[in-house]
């Protein structure tokens, strides 16, 4: 009886008794979901262009953030360091295309996937060799990003809003809008969708596969840098950050591997869902449940929509 009460009554009673805290939980879930969505976006971009899950996206987030901090620590002014970090991601995109992808045109997707695993280990090694393994602070203030917090009085309690979290939400929204425009309204965007459907068919109509891949990997690099800055500002820049990127997997399952809106909605559902469950129901299971709860949400969605919320439904007739 107690168990039923703890599952079905008590959490809702807590929500009603402390609405300010509920709002805080929802806000934290929203911010975390925004960041999950940013990570997932990087995966979606590359999946759209090559049909491959880019295992290296997590380390790309770390590598981009480390490049930025590394340039700054070497004495480069913050904004110049930001441009140079973008340059690093650009060089990496061209390098990946020239040295890895170009040799794998029309290969099975699993081969491309394996190549991204190799790339991931390469970037981990290169990152540790160049920047060292120490934890580094993100140059939040130097980049002009807001710090500090605002306390809002709500329903007899308080909600604490971190300014950097607000900035993260705004930047994520701008990035999503820009990417959505890029992929739906530009020639490259349309070419990219063609490449995603069939490499050889795209080549036959004159689309430069090499150019598309370099552009997409660079776009994923930009998203990785934005994610690295935002997540680095919330915690720190360390190689442990790449593990967080795995949280994008349930987001992708939920939202669909090919959908930008799916990544956003999926990120928000996972972010808010895991916070709510951890805070109000987690104690019943000993706490620390958010590590796996995201996958439970994704699995539940999979039962009803195997292609994800916004994924393409592929019907193959035999």
């Amino acid at each position: 009886m107690d168990l039923l009460y703890n599952i079905f009554i008590d959490p809702f009673a807590q929500m009603a008794a402390t609405p300010d805290f509920l709002l805080q939980v929802l806000w934290e879930g929203f911010v975390t979901g925004t960041l999950y969505a940013l990570i997932a976006l990087g995966y979606v971009l590359i999946f759209k262009a090559s049909g491959v899950f880019n295992f290296a996206q997590g380390i790309m987030v770390v590598f981009a953030a480390l490049s930025l901090v590394g340039f700054y620590e070497a004495g480069v002014p913050a904004y110049l360091a930001l441009i140079m970090a973008l340059g690093v991601m650009g060089v990496m995109a061209i390098g990946v295309e020239r040295l890895v992808l170009r040799h794998m045109v029309n290969q099975p997707e699993i081969i491309l996937f394996m190549a991204t695993i190799g790339l991931s280990y390469f970037l981990i090694g290169a990152g540790e060799l160049i920047f060292g393994g120490e934890t580094k602070s993100m140059i939040t203030q130097e980049l002009g990003l807001p710090t500090g917090s605002t306390v809002v009085d709500v329903a007899g309690g308080i909600v604490i809003l971190q300014h950097i979290d607000v900035a993260a939400a705004v930047i994520a929204a701008i990035l999503v809008a820009a990417l959505a425009f890029f992929f739906s309204k530009t020639r490259i965007g349309r070419a990219l969708r063609a490449v995603a459907d069939d490499h050889q068919a795209a080549l036959s109509v004159g689309i430069s596969l090499n150019q598309i891949w370099a552009v997409v990997w660079f776009a994923a690099g930009i998203v990785a840098l934005a994610t690295g800055i935002m997540w680095g500002a919330r915690s720190d820049v360390s190689f442990a950050l790449q593990i967080v990127a795995l949280k994008a997997l349930p987001v992708l399952i939920l939202g669909g591997f090919t959908s930008i809106p799916g990544a956003i909605i999926g990120g928000l559902i996972i972010g808010v869902g895991e916070k709510i469950f951890e805070v109000y129901w987690g104690g019943l299971l000993g706490g620390g449940v958010e590590g796996w709860f995201a996958y439970v949400i994704a699995l539940i969605f999979l039962l009803f929509r195997p292609q994800g919320l916004f994924g393409e439904k592929i019907i193959e007739r035999i």
Binding site: S235, S238, A240, E278, G287, G288, E290
Partner: protein, 434 residues
């Protein structure tokens, strides 16, 4: 003919290699260093490995080694991964390893069953299996200057002193959800029952180390009077930032001695002001032996530190303390066995007869560096006191006297845990200390 020549060459080369290894083992003191300069915990592993290596380099440069034999430190990268740690152990044990310092509770737990078989002791200095402090049951394992259980009891004692009684208070325990973080829970639960305080636990998975907002929302919900952290690596800085974010009073947030180093607080900076942690050794360079490290190693370009200012920081000095203890055990072993080229078995004798007194520390040029460490056949954990230091926004300041553990409570629990550990291991090697 070619086949015969090739076979002969291979046999000759193998014999030569074996001979070289054997000579090398006899003419040096081989100390493997299971380090982690890569991976999620590298930020903590790097200064530890540097301090450990630099002290031995200084001993070799200044004194020509120990007892006339050079100390060879060979690093093996574990990435703080238990499986890789075991691989490192297997790869180096045949080279005449004297002692293993795993720097990971997970790796320590894997090595404990191997130590009596290979006759190479493990020194898990201030970490690992707490029950291994019972020397009769764990002849090959040493975990002084204090076990996790000793340390937790000292932290509770500190809170008790600050509150004028901990009874009726709520204590939050946030920990890395691996063997290391879970290790002190039995003692914490027991003390909570005996002393009448409430414990709320917040496990943080490795994947969530930099994503702790849920945990700190729960802290805000539970409103504990004090928070204790058993964290490591990137978890620490994130936890302190999240605590500051929810406006938890940082002077009521205490980390253990793996959650209170410059590597943890420097990325946090001013936001971490007031945070407290336990420690076992003094930070700083104002000791003759550390000055010798700067002179013989760092300034001579023989160190791996990227900056001279790294010397003297909390984890660098922790690694150095580990090396001091190993060096002292080697010296004691040489003295007691009459041999200069000692073995793992001899080293065990050295570790068991450890007596790093204040006078001895002064002789070593390390006056006041750490609490005295004295081991016996029965006690491999020393049960030493700890002290608290507090982050002032840019550095640590010591804020407490030495706080001894609750030995009367802890020892009985350790003995019980040791009995339980070996109960299902028939043939487990114990020793009689009678």
């Amino acid at each position: 003919m070619f086949k015969k020549i090739a076979t002969g060459a291979v046999i000759a080369a193998t014999a030569l290699t074996m001979q070289t290894a054997s000579v090398s083992a006899q003419e040096t003191l081989f100390v493997p260093s299971l380090s982690y300069r890569t991976g999620p915990f590298a930020g903590n592993g790097i200064p530890i490995a540097n301090g450990f290596a630099d002290y031995f380099t200084m001993i070799n440069e200044r004194d020509g080694g120990i007892g006339g034999l050079k100390v060879v430190v060979e690093e093996c990268e574990t990435g703080y991964n238990a499986q890789k740690g075991v691989e490192c152990y297997e790869a180096t044990k045949g080279k005449g390893a004297l002692v293993y310092n795993p720097y990971s509770t997970g790796i320590t737990l894997q090595l404990i069953p191997k130590t009596p078989v290979d006759k190479i002791p493990v020194l898990s200095m201030g970490y690992g299996l707490s029950a291994a402090a019972i020397g009769e049951k764990f002849p090959w394992v040493f975990n002084y200057p204090a076990t996790y259980w000793d340390q937790m009891s000292s932290i509770i004692k500190y809170i008790d002193g600050q509150e004028g009684g901990i009874k009726g208070k709520k204590v939050g325990f946030i920990y890395l959800d691996v063997g290391y973080g879970k290790e002190p829970i039995p003692l914490l639960d027991q003390l909570a029952e005996e002393m009448g305080f409430e414990v709320v636990k917040f496990p943080v998975g490795v994947k969530e180390m930099q994503n702790q907002s849920s945990h700190w929302l729960n802290v805000r919900k539970e409103k504990p009077d004090w928070m204790i952290m058993w964290g490591f690596g990137a978890m620490n800085a994130t936890a302190i930032k999240e605590a500051a974010k929810i406006r938890y009073p940082l002077d009521h947030f205490i980390g253990n001695w793996w959650a209170g180093a410059h590597a943890d607080l420097e990325p946090v900076g001013e936001a971490g002001k007031g945070y407290i942690s336990a420690n076992m050794a003094k930070a700083g360079t104002d000791m003759p032996a550390v000055q010798d490290i700067l002179k013989y190693v760092v300034d001579a370009g023989k160190s791996q530190v990227s900056d001279r200012s790294e010397v003297g920081k909390v984890l660098y000095n922790r690694g150095m303390l580990n090396a001091v203890v190993v060096a002292e055990a080697i010296r004691i072993a040489q003295e007691m066995t009459g041999k200069t080229a000692i073995t793992g078995e001899d080293m065990r004798i050295g570790l068991e007869n450890m007596d790093l007194s204040d006078e001895r520390l002064k002789e070593l040029g390390l006056e006041g560096f750490t609490v005295p460490i004295k081991a016996t056949c029965e006690n491999h954990g020393s049960g030493g006191p700890i002290f608290m230091h507090q982050w002032n926004g840019s550095d640590f300041e010591r804020i407490s006297d030495l706080i001894p553990p609750m030995t009367d409570r802890v020892r009985a629990m350790l003995e019980e845990a040791a009995d339980k550990y070996i109960a299902d291991k028939p043939g487990w090697q114990t020793q009689d200390c009678g």
